[in-house]
């Protein structure tokens, strides 16, 4: 027979679990990942997407650079909050081998994106993505979702939701200090199944 003390203990544990759950559920929660250890980084899946001029952009073209890959949309408020930061980073770090690449998930395409890019004075390249592109990266359900990719084309950091500017900046600056190593194709595993 279970004693009243055991019931109390169970109730206490359950209450703590519920409280922690509620805290976790609060929508302020954002997945802020710090830089992954190099040995645990996976190759960022390549893609071929068009920019506003119809040029095909491959992520692989950026190998050797640190890339901030930003999944965003014009209708996404938190994405808009990050855009001035990304514009600053593009200006500040471009000469050190850094690029921001925005993947717009707007269903209406360039007719929505182009005026927005002009309005926000976006100075980095934007390509048009879709659900297939998102699936390559484990399925992009929430925007913004941002991947910081090292000079070897591997995902070093992953942010879901509005991040802190300093978290981006720390990741970029740390990765810019690191030289590109020899390509290790053994790491080209299926990121879409293992993205965390």
């Amino acid at each position: 027979m279970t004693s009243p003390r055991s019931y109390l203990r169970l109730a206490g544990i359950a209450a703590v679990a519920v409280i922690l759950g509620v805290i976790a559920y609060l929508p302020r929660k954002t997945d802020h990942s710090s830089l992954k250890d190099e040995s645990k980084r996976q190759v960022a899946p390549d893609f071929a997407l068009k920019d506003a001029h119809g040029n095909v952009v491959h992520l692989a073209d950026y190998r050797g650079k640190v890339v901030l890959l930003d999944f965003w949309a014009t209708w996404c408020g938190p994405c808009g909050e990050e855009i001035p930061w990304l514009t600053d980073f593009q200006r500040k770090y471009k000469d050190r081998g850094f690029e921001v690449l925005g993947i717009s998930m707007d269903d209406d395409g360039w007719k929505e994106i182009n005026p927005f890019v002009a309005l926000k004075k976006i100075n980095y390249r934007i390509v048009l993505g879709d659900d297939k592109t998102g699936d390559l990266y484990g399925g992009i359900e929430a925007l913004p979702t941002t991947f910081v990719i090292d000079r070897n084309g591997r995902v070093a950091s992953h942010f879901v939701g509005l991040a802190a500017r300093k978290d981006f900046q720390n990741a970029i600056e740390t990765l810019l200090e690191t030289r590109a190593g020899p390509a290790d194709l053994s790491a080209r595993s299926d990121y879409s199944r293992r993205a965390d």
Binding site: L10, I13, A14, V16, A17, V18, L20, G21, V22, I23, A24, Y25, L26, P27, R28, K29, T30, D31, A73, T74, W75, C76, G77, P78, C79, G80, E81, M105, D107, E112, F116, E141, A142, L143, P144, V160, G161, L162
Partner: protein, 151 residues
């Protein structure tokens, strides 16, 4: 049992990053008379912690809450959306006009004088785009079907 301490928060983090579903309560059969004006009210609910833009968002790039009636014997006269409440979020310098929790959308229909007697369906789509404090989710559409009894 201690595993619960880890599992519950972990599961809820995943939920918080998952697109919320707006639920629309089923509408009981609406009896309408030919030649009259009939009102249909939809009651919708968004999960706690999420908001959707109102029908008149604060920014032209935000996607409004929109109800479109796409098929059925009735003619739409007007759609009355919930008045958005102005809420402040960490990602926006200005308050946004949003709907949260439970809200209603009412439609006034004209019932044509020559509408056929009997049962019919009025179909539509409710489109919304939801966010929480830190992230947004792709626009979604909820199919709506209202059963009518025309007499």
């Amino acid at each position: 049992m201690p595993g619960l301490l880890i599992l519950v928060p972990a599961a809820t983090i995943l939920v918080a990053q998952t697109s919320p579903t707006l639920t629309v309560a089923p509408v009981p059969t609406v009896k309408v008379r030919k030649g009259s004006v009939a009102a249909v009210t939809l009651r919708a609910v968004l999960p706690p912690g999420f908001h959707a833009n109102s029908n008149k968002p604060s920014d032209e790039y935000l996607i409004p809450l929109t109800l479109k009636w796409t098929g059925g014997p009735l003619t739409v006269e007007s759609v009355e959306y919930p008045k958005g409440s102005l809420e402040k979020y960490p990602f926006s310098p200005k308050p946004l006009s949003v709907v949260t929790g439970e809200f209603s959308i009412s439609t006034k229909f004209k019932v044509p004088a020559n509408a056929p007697n009997g049962a019919a369906a009025q179909n539509g789509t409710l489109r919304y785009q939801a966010c929480n404090d830190h992230m947004c989710f792709a626009p979604k559409s909820v199919p709506i079907s209202v059963t009518l009894e025309i007499e």
